[in-house]
């Protein structure tokens, strides 16, 4: 726990030591809030479904941009060798890095809190749906980041990590669209993949204000699986 904390603090500081972090947060807030607020004034509805509905697509770009550096930067700079020869377990280093990225995302997400506050002042929004919507946003970020950190470990180059990360995350969104095509080739496979990995069912029920243990567990199990794969890769790499 202490070891994870040491890595966590260094990684979080690394985000804020570079101007990229501030640019990232500003662009994230301007785009999400801006794209949400434009139709908001036209519709005149006090809810955040539009905001949460956009997030899975925004985060396809934003999350890989946060996670791409996690291993790729260390491998390029050679500090990876330093990290892997400190008396820390691979899982502790991995957890420190992942949590730092997650907290960085949560800080950016917290920047959107003026939206529900404004809604509360202007109208009478469904508070429950907003809370579960934010829970969905946190879980979505946690899942995308786990994919991103895993992909970052596989490559040396940050740009490659970004592109592969975005493509990998897109799978969760896109599988629902192509499930029927896949079923056309191999009956049942598309439906199966969509059922297992499709994001929309789980995310949309949270967006609507429906809190089901199964949906929350779906995010957590998948995120844990990618983190486990990442640790497995870290331990197996020695024999490469």
């Amino acid at each position: 726990m202490r070891n994870t904390g040491v890595i966590f603090r260094r990684e979080l500081a690394a985000y804020f030591n570079s101007p990229i972090a501030y640019i990232f947060i500003i662009v994230f807030l301007v785009l999400t809030a801006g794209l949400y607020m434009t139709p908001f004034f036209l519709q005149g509805q006090a809810d955040m479904r539009g905001f949460f509905g956009l997030l899975p697509f925004f985060l396809l770009i934003f999350i890989p941009a946060v996670s791409m550096r996690l291993w790729a930067e260390d491998r390029r700079a050679g500090t990876f060798e330093l990290l892997m020869t400190l008396p820390l377990r691979a899982s502790e280093v991995m957890a420190g890095k992942y949590l730092a990225a997650l907290v960085f995302y949560l800080i950016a997400l917290a920047g959107t809190l003026p939206i529900p506050i404004t809604l509360g002042i202007l109208g009478n929004p469904d508070g429950g749906a907003i809370v579960t919507g934010y829970l969905g946003a946190v879980l979505l970020g946690a899942l995308y980041l786990s994919v991103g950190i895993f992909v970052s470990g596989l490559v040396r180059d940050q740009i490659t990590a970004f592109i592969l990360g975005a493509i990998a995350c897109f799978f969760f969104v896109g599988i629902g669209w192509v499930a029927l095509f896949i079923d056309g080739w191999i009956p049942g496979l598309g439906t199966f993949l969509d059922g297992a990995f499709g994001l929309s069912d789980h995310y949309e029920s949270l967006m609507r204000g429906v809190l089901q243990l199964g949906d929350v567990a779906w995010f957590l199990v998948l995120a844990a699986a990618f983190l486990a794969l990442n640790t497995y890769w870290l331990e197996g790499r020695k024999h490469g």
Partner: protein, 349 residues
């Protein structure tokens, strides 16, 4: 001692006794280690042992396997075959304990450029379990002994090469390790900085076990007598420098310089007693300088002087030329290459 036996199997107890009888075990014990990267065999059955509180100079051309061997000793890589024991602990079985004992400066001194020197050192210290007053004391000590006080609060990305190197060394020393593994600690430094690092290694070698690699031979002799030379993944020599020179070169070497070219010089010199070979230096058509190699202990310079008197040559130069570490190194490495080629030929036939 008896408490120790109770916790272990009887066999382990016997092993412990034999080790105690044999005296202190080696601090670093590498046995038959091989490592392959795809098609290349980076290390081929490498064995090495380093006694406690001694300094080993690890020599070899670039790409010989020095860094790979160090990565295995520091648990960054796992060997494909063979074992490595650090203070008796197997690197594959107890990597975390091994890492605690070792301070490691990897090749090219990787540092976090976004941090300041003191932040970086504190980060490494904290990862190594230091905190509070102990961490503060160690930070002060490494900053002092690595000459980092003036740059202590500077961002690492602004440091000169020399200070980066010192920061890397300070990082390796922060937890006062028993063992230091330094991969090319002096590469890219100016002569004054090289001497500083060299002195520091020598100083630290009194209390710690140190392995440092280099491809610059002059750096080894002032620091330590003990060297291991690696080439194409194989240890080609391991021992004291003086011993290696004698063994590799076999005999002595004398340089003879004449004032005027003499037609029969080459043939006459070849005829001298105890001369194994004569090589004209510089000018091939009318040579005036020759390198004489002797096979035994016969003093070649006296023979050459007598010959010169007899022939009436005016001598401009006559001196014994001791073999340098370079000569030894090149002789060992090329002998190894020839041996390797012969070996490969055998396999094909």
């Amino acid at each position: 001692m008896s408490a120790l036996f109770l916790r272990r199997s009887p066999l382990a107890g016997i092993k412990q006794i034999t080790e105690t009888i044999r005296g202190a075990h080696a601090m670093i014990e590498v046995q038959g280690v091989s490592k392959r990267f795809g098609q290349t065999l980076a290390l081929d059955d490498v064995s090495l042992s380093v006694e406690p509180r001694s300094v080993l100079g690890f020599l070899g051309p670039n790409g010989a396997g020095k860094s790979t061997a160090m990565k295995i000793i520091t648990t960054f890589l796992a060997p494909d075959a063979g074992t490595v024991r650090i203070d008796g602990l197997d690197v594959s079985e107890r990597p975390l304990e091994v890492r605690r004992k070792i301070g490691y400066m990897p090749e090219n001194v990787p540092l976090y450029d976004d941090m300041r020197v003191h932040e970086y050192l504190a980060f490494v210290g904290a990862s190594r379990g230091l905190s509070g007053g102990r961490l503060a004391a160690r930070l002060e000590w490494v900053a002092e002994s690595c000459g980092l006080v003036s740059e202590y609060k500077r961002p690492i990305r602004e440091l000169s090469k020399g200070y980066r190197q010192r920061t890397g060394l300070a990082q390796a020393l922060i937890h006062d390790p028993e063992i230091l593994i330094l991969d090319e600690p002096t590469s890219g430094l100016d002569p004054r900085q090289i001497i500083e690092i060299r002195d520091l290694i020598q100083e630290l070698g009194r209390t710690k076990t140190i392995v440092f690699s280099t491809h610059i031979l002059q750096e080894v002799e002032p620091v330590t007598e003990r060297v291991a030379i690696i080439n194409e993944g194989r240890i080609v020599a391991d021992g004291r420098i003086g011993e290696l020179k004698r063994r590799a070169m076999g005999g002595s070497r004398v340089i003879v310089g004449l004032a005027e070219p003499a037609a029969d010089a080459l043939a006459s010199l070849r005829g001298l007693a105890g001369v194994k070979s004569v090589m004209p230096l510089v000018d091939a058509d009318a040579p005036t300088r020759f390198e004489l190699r002797g096979d035994g202990d016969a003093p070649l310079d006296a023979g050459a002087a007598a010959l010169a008197r007899e022939k009436g040559w005016a001598l401009r130069e006559l001196r014994e030329s001791p073999f340098s570490l370079e000569d030894t190194f090149i002789a060992l490495v090329s002998r190894d290459a020839a041996g390797g080629a012969a070996h490969r030929g055998e396999v094909r036939a």
